[in-house]
Amino acid sequence: MAVSQSRDQLEEQIDQWRGYLRRHQAISPADVEELEDHLRGQVATLTGAGLSADEAFLVAVKRLGALDAISNEFAREHSERLWKQLVVAQAPSGEAKREYRKEFMVVLALAVAAALAVKVPELFGVELSGTDDRETMFYVRNFSLFVLPLLTGYFVWKRGVTARTWGWLALLFVVALVVANIYPFQPDSDTAALTALHLPIALWLVVGVAYVGGRWRDSGRRMDFVRFSGELFIYYVLIALGGGVLIGFTMGMFEAIGIDAEWMVEDWLVPCGALGAVIIGSWLVEAKQSVIENMAPVLTRLFTPLFAATLLIFLATMAWTGRGIDIERNILIAFDLLLVLVFGMLLYSVSARDREAPRDLGDLLLVVLVICALITDGVALAAIGARISEFGFTPNRVAALGENVVLLVNLAVSAGLYVRFMRGRGSFAALERWQMAYLPVYAVWAAVVVVLFPLIFGFA
């Protein structure tokens, strides 16, 4: 009885030790097994020499040496293990492997479906690369509708949302489809272009609802979706770079044998690839979530000081030389982009920050960046406001102004909360909550532009 008890205890100790060993990245599971065999050999020898199981375990572990030192040695021999690898084909065995295969097949099917969806209208005679403007506008308005429902489907499948949520999601996509195609837009219509631009933004938030598995009130899950979006963007850019290389080779090689491959690239590779890549990119981000460090916050950290310095110098120059902002037609859009950029940097800094960490230089730079952006935008708005009647209220200008206000409100409140945090009067979590609570505002504004603007401005 006592012997079996001490044996159980030994197994438990070895279990704990194994778990601890596994946390070292440089030591692979096979190494752990090899070291465990060693440990058991040593324990057997020592208990054979008269030590109790407890003592034998302690001595054996001690003889094995400090784990950190061993881990360092392993890292020296297997330096490749310190590079976290996203090996798509490598999955655990058994049940997990089957799950993994199944997911891959679903993703592949959805990606192919997205790639083919864009070709379906051609069956009905709407040419993708046609010269007819109406046909081109059809694709521009609808491009998000070729892929985002499928992406939503992926998350619905993966997260298993309730039938109720499922119904709402389907309804929203149907509404989007109807609005984008039933409105009688005039030729060269500004509101049609605005619809094309804002529909993806509104629908992206719909994807978000599926991404969080219907728990969209949970601000932690919302933040996960923000992180997902940032990583997907970076993956998408990388995939696009690879696609560019593929296209270059395709064109060049067929040119070498005197065949023009342009139609293949224009009609198939680019549109099908661009849509399929959204699904594949999303799946990669899902798969790598915990494997590789998030890239968006790293880029943010890198560029926050640079943008803060640029804006500071810009403001100083403006004050010093007394030059006003040159008001021309597209100035509002330029400042919208500035706010979007600063907002993105703020959002991704927030997404990566440890809430409990003390204030540091990075926080200060971020506050400087946000305040500079607010001042710059304020100066621009004041200049534009004075002359807005002169330019007239076109749909483009109202949309740009609305966006500016939406972002300005967010940044102003964020700046306030951030300053409170910096002065030790508020918590960082408050800033995070504010950002997450504000997310639906973007979707609502985008939906207003899509649905109401064409009606208000007579489809002009």
Partner: protein, 124 residues
């Protein structure tokens, strides 16, 4: 007795290769054999043996394969390769050169061996 770290590192390769020339073996048995050969004088930190084995495996001097122990658990056995034997021959020549040089110099100088033999002028 504490043996200088560099010396341990330098002698590890020929020792492991030579022990594997005696027959296929696995980590713990190799360590026991080292201890036996040196009468317990050469004590390695056990964990450090494995990175050495993996390096030799990567260099192609030895080959590893998973088998099972007497108790049925998985155990990794190592076998020396032809290239490993060649490497061992080289090591042996190098060590013999070092050994004979040291032997010759020990004959012509006198230094006390071990802490027990204090020099006479300190013995009082």
């Amino acid at each position: 007795m504490d043996i200088n770290k560099d010396l341990v590192a330098a002698s590890a390769t020929p020792l492991v290769l030579a022990i594997l020339t005696e027959g296929d073996s696995y980590g713990y048995a190799i360590l026991k054999r080292v201890s036996e050969l040196s009468d317990g004088g050469l004590e390695w930190t056990d964990g450090m043996l494995y990175p050495v084995l993996h390096r030799l495996e990567r260099q192609g001097h030895i080959e590893g394969r998973w088998g099972s122990s007497e108790t049925g658990r998985r155990r990794k056995y190592y076998r020396i390769t032809g290239q490993g034997r060649e490497q061992l021959r080289e090591h042996r020549q190098q060590w013999q050169t070092v050994d004979s040089a040291l032997r010759n110099i020990w004959l012509s100088v006198w230094i006390p061996l071990g802490p027990a033999c204090k020099p006479v002028w300190q013995g009082g």
